[in-house]
Amino acid sequence: MSILHAIFQPGLFSNSSVQDAAVVGAVVALVCAPVGVFTVVRGQSFAGHAFADVTATGGSAAFLLGVSPLLGFVVMALAGAGATELLGAERQRGRDLATGVLLGAGLGLSALLLYLTTTAQSTTGAAVTVLFGSIFAVSSSTLPMVIGFGATALFLVGLVYRPLLLSSINPDLARAQGAGLRVVGLVYVVSLALSVALSALTIGAILSTALLIGPAAAALRLAKSPGRAIACAAVIGVAATWAGIVLAYDSYNWPPAQQGWPVSFFVVSLVLAAYLLAQLTGRRARQA
């Protein structure tokens, strides 16, 4: 009982920002599960990571304009998706470079926006909030927006689930069937952008890859079918986010400063741990 009490400290379940954080975390993890599985299978981790970095610009602009960071994340992620589609249609390598260069420009711009925010409003926390996230700071008025964008992403993935699966696993066959591959790719990229934006809100723009790719990659080591992998990724994602929130809540009593460790740190570490564990289990299962 006392151990339980040490883990779930008093006030955890009645704290309203913890409750909001738990809802946001769960929604985001659920959305990231299918999109993440497709991202890993398609080998698009770099694209996901690039969007994540570029969303930082949107978050910074939102801070400067005084609107919800989520709006900034979403707008910028979608713009990034559009730009990458436009710029690098020809070859994989050229595409990586174009993405990379754009990404740098986005980060540079967010540096400027954050600097302007700091000088205009004399607040200093914006850089940390945008880049490393703070799920406890997500206001409850953002909740409907989180759920709305999440539902949209899930709907989009559901819409193109079968052709997307085919084109991810066997691009040649999909091309031979030829059914609107470009549209499918576009719908996927939009849902990827939405997921990245949601993940950026939860654990910060430059860490958001973890929630997108980590649970999915772990799940793909464990599960045999795509459907099961998505379910498994959702479980891992929700577990990591919730455990991260609990640990961060506990950490207010921890050294050195008694001011709480960042939630994102816990979430990201737990996701990596889950992945490594899955890899270990997966290997053992294959050997047996």
């Binding site: 890993v40 080998g43 981790s45 770099f46 996901g48 990571h49 970095d53 020809e90 070859r91 390598r93 050229g94 990586d96 470079l97 174009a98 990379g100 260069v101 754009l102 990404l103 740098g104 420009a105 986005g106 980060l107 540079g108 711009l109 540096a111 400027l112 954050l114 600097y115 700091t118 200093t124 926390g125 850089a127 940390v128 880049l131 490393f132 910060g204 430059i206 860490l207 890859t209 973890a210 790719i213 980590g214 990659a217 050195p256 400063a257 001011q259 709480g260 460790w261 960042p262 994102s264 740190f265 979430v267 990201v268 570490s269 996701v271 990596l272 992945y275």
Partner: protein, 281 residues
């Protein structure tokens, strides 16, 4: 406005930044050629945690960055050979960044420091760093020059390189090491998030301009130098973060190179095989 741009401690900044820019340009050439953008992206971001850790325990930034760059290099070299390269790199990278944010949150000076580590601070260099920077830079340039041919060959024609007894794993490690060194030098000045821009923008542009590897590398170094010089001046003058200028320049170069190539009706960057011919000549 610009008085003081070359005074006293700024001279150290100029010297170190110039060495760093040339090194980043030269190393970046191989980053682009080998398609290693992920490594060039991952090593600086991982090294950010080293800088944060150094700030926490009060150690020299260069030491922290260098240590973590080295760790990143070893990690990528070790795990890179198996499949799933991207996922593992991305996850480890993000975890390391998360640890960096933890370090920063434990530090009292927090926000301002976060900002300069991520987005650069041209005045971050101290005169005591001048000698190590110069040595690292000279070492890195020497390594690139000595390794030029085997690196070139293993980048563009791995089978041919293997036939000549060049071990790909060793070359990859040395290449990653040079990325690590360039990162160590560049991170304090242009920031963890913008090292990548500096390492990719100029060489990617250079490949639009010329087919000849040595010339491309020189162009890349020169563009890097211009980027850093103008960025420092602009940042000094406007007080805006240097990262903004570096990132913008990379895009301007890249877009210019691309439209130049299109204007000359060339089908984009040169194919690896053409470069192979030039490299083994």
């Amino acid at each position: 406005m610009l008085s003081g741009l070359f005074s006293g401690f700024m001279v150290d900044t100029w010297l170190q930044a110039s060495v760093m820019a040339v090194v980043a340009g030269a190393v970046g050439f191989f980053v682009v050629l080998r398609g290693s953008s992920f490594a060039a992206h991952a090593i600086p971001q991982g090294a950010f945690t080293g800088a944060a850790g150094a700030a926490l325990i009060g150690a020299n930034t260069l030491v922290g960055v260098g240590t973590f760059s080295l760790l990143g290099v070893v990690a990528i070299a070790r795990w890179g050979r198996r499949g799933q390269h991207d996922v593992v790199t991305a996850l480890c990278l993000v975890t390391v960044l998360g640890i960096g944010s933890l370090f920063l949150s434990m530090n009292t000076e927090y926000s301002e420091q976060t900002f300069s580590l991520l987005f650069g601070e041209p005045l971050a260099v101290s005169s005591s760093d001048l000698l190590p920077t110069a040595l690292l830079g000279a070492g890195c340039i020497t390594m690139v020059v000595v390794l030029f041919r085997p690196l070139m060959l293993s980048s563009v024609a791995p089978e041919l390189a293997a036939a000549r007894g060049i071990r790909p794993a060793r070359i990859e490690l040395l290449f990653l090491l040079s990325v690590g060194v360039a990162t160590t030098m560049a991170l304090p000045v242009v920031g963890a998030l913008l090292v990548f821009s500096l390492m990719i923008g100029p060489p990617a542009t250079a490949r639009f301009v010329t087919d000849r590897p040595a010339l491309a590398m020189a162009v890349s170094g020169a563009l890097g130098l211009i980027t850093v010089w103008v960025s420092i001046t602009a940042s000094f003058w406007s007080n805006w973060p240097i990262g903004f200028f570096v990132g913008t320049f990379a895009v301007v170069w890249y877009a210019t190179g691309r439209s130049l190539a299109r204007w000359r009706r060339k089908p984009g960057p040169v194919l690896p095989l053409e470069l192979a011919g030039a490299g083994s000549r």
